[in-house]
């Protein structure tokens, strides 16, 4: 190894000594963190940075999305035919259920009209891809490929075919960051489908487990109960499955029961999720034109 020529201790730029420069930059980072922690002060700056680093995200995602494309192009005909058959039979089954649903929905609307309460409006959804990039391994977060340009907003709910996945916590220009309902810092208001009991489901940091910490020992909850989003709190649309109760531990000495649930959505396996614009958002006109109407 060669020694660095010339300017020994004071490496470089101008006359400011290294220690002082370190101190200045440390102070700048500290104040950045303070501002960022108080939310929203830095969203512009963050958006600018995210545009700069977007090529790296896209480059990392490229082999994965390329592989998806290639495998789609190279599937052989028999597999496609088989899949087609399966999808057709699936669709028939779903159609049959949907016929009943249409009748029920009409009946529901009539009853609601009789009760003078507002009719339910269909939520609008948009399918989005999860980018193949990892975020902080200690938190349950992921990045999706839509952002400000597509009308995504903070607090927007994400679903998959089976239930609630999470919500948007940060929106950049081309991408957005979402948090799963299983994140340790996340909570979602739910009601028990069987009896309408309202409570809150909290994440555990494990994508296969959820916790219901606020149920008393006498609460009417059983193993196998379906938990659906209650719509209280105004973030998640009401009526989507969140999870199913796995076990209920009632300890006589303690005021609260220990209830564990399993998420309905496939939190650790999804590559595609649905963004939801709820009916209230439509009224506020927060949507963009590119949103597909839900069937």
């Amino acid at each position: 190894m060669n020694a660095v020529g010339g300017n020994g201790g004071n490496l470089g730029r101008g006359n400011v000594p290294l220690g002082l420069r370190f101190l200045l930059i440390a102070i700048v980072s500290g104040s950045l963190m303070l501002l960022d922690h108080r939310e929203e002060h830095l969203s512009r700056i963050r958006q600018a940075f995210s545009v700069i680093v977007y090529p790296i995200q896209a480059a990392v995602d490229l082999p994965f999305s390329g592989w998806r494309l290639a495998s789609r192009a190279l599937t052989d005909q028999s597999a496609l035919l088989e899949e087609n058959e399966r999808l057709k039979s699936d669709r028939l089954r779903v159609d049959v259920r949907l016929q009943r649903l249409a009748a029920l929905e009409a009946e529901n609307d009539r009853l609601r009209a009789m009760l003078d309460s507002s009719a339910r409006v269909n939520d609008r959804v948009l399918g989005v891809q999860i980018l193949a990039v990892d975020l902080d391994p200690y938190r349950q977060r992921f990045t999706i490929d839509r952002g400000l340009n597509d009308g995504v907003y903070v607090g927007q709910a994400l679903l998959d075919a089976n239930g609630v996945v999470g919500q948007i916590v940060r929106v950049e220009l081309f991408t957005s960051e979402a948090v799963l309902i299983s994140d340790a810092d996340h909570a979602i208001p739910v009601s028990v489908n069987r009896n309408g009991l309202r409570t809150i489901v909290v994440g555990t940091g494990d994508s296969t487990r959820l916790r219901l910490p606020y149920l008393t020992n006498s609460a009417d909850i059983e193993k196998g109960d379906l938990l659906v989003s209650s719509g209280l709190g105004g973030v998640f649309p009401s009526g989507y499955p969140v999870g199913r109760v796995l076990e209920v531990l009632r300890r006589p000495g303690q005021a609260f029961a220990e209830v564990i649930a399993e998420p309905a959505a496939q939190l650790d396996r999804d590559r595609e999720v649905l963004l939801v614009w709820t009916a209230e958002d439509e009224v506020e006109g927060r949507t963009s034109a590119s949103v597909a109407e839900a069937p």
Partner: protein, 162 residues
């Protein structure tokens, strides 16, 4: 000055690849063991060519990592600047060490790096597991010799004066 330009290319390429490696998806089981690639590469350049990277480079890389990671803006930046400052400040003493002593110093720097991240998470009130926090230090110590040997050899190819 063709050689120095090639070294600069190597510097830029290594930093960008480190950023990409920092977000490449890994299976859940090994994700906590992802080494701090950016910190390792910056420590290498801080020790071996401190005239080429400044604290501002470290700051910018830290901010890029914060943005990619969705972390608090400035969290990785502060940790990165601290570690690079120490490696640049003491590069003359550290890099004459034999390789195992050099590695001990790098492990110490990685510990400091993780500690700063951990500390900021704690102050900001985010929940993080404490044991898994130190996994990147272990994996970082394991990959450091390879980074050292590889980058040093590539760099030697480009430099006539070593």
């Amino acid at each position: 000055m063709r050689d120095s330009r090639r070294t600069r290319h190597l510097l830029v390429i290594s930093l960008v690849s480190a950023l990409a490696l920092a977000i490449v998806p890994l299976p859940d089981a090994v994700a906590p063991y992802r080494p701090d690639w950016v910190a390792l590469v910056l420590i290498f350049w801080g020790l071996m060519a401190p005239e080429r990277i400044g604290l501002l480079t470290a700051f910018a890389m830290g901010l890029a990592l914060d943005t990619l990671n969705g972390a608090l803006l400035g969290q990785h930046a502060l940790a990165m600047v601290t570690v690079v400052y120490l490696s640049v400040r003491f590069h003359l003493r550290i890099r004459v060490f034999p390789i195992w002593q050099l590695s001990v110093c790098v492990v110490f720097l990685l510990c400091l790096y993780e500690f700063i991240l951990f500390w900021i998470d704690g102050v900001a009130g985010r929940t993080v597991p404490t044991i898994e926090r130190w996994a990147p230090v272990v994996s970082g110590a394991l990959v450091w010799p390879f980074i050292l040997v590889y980058l040093a050899s590539v760099r030697r190819d480009t430099q006539t004066r070593v």
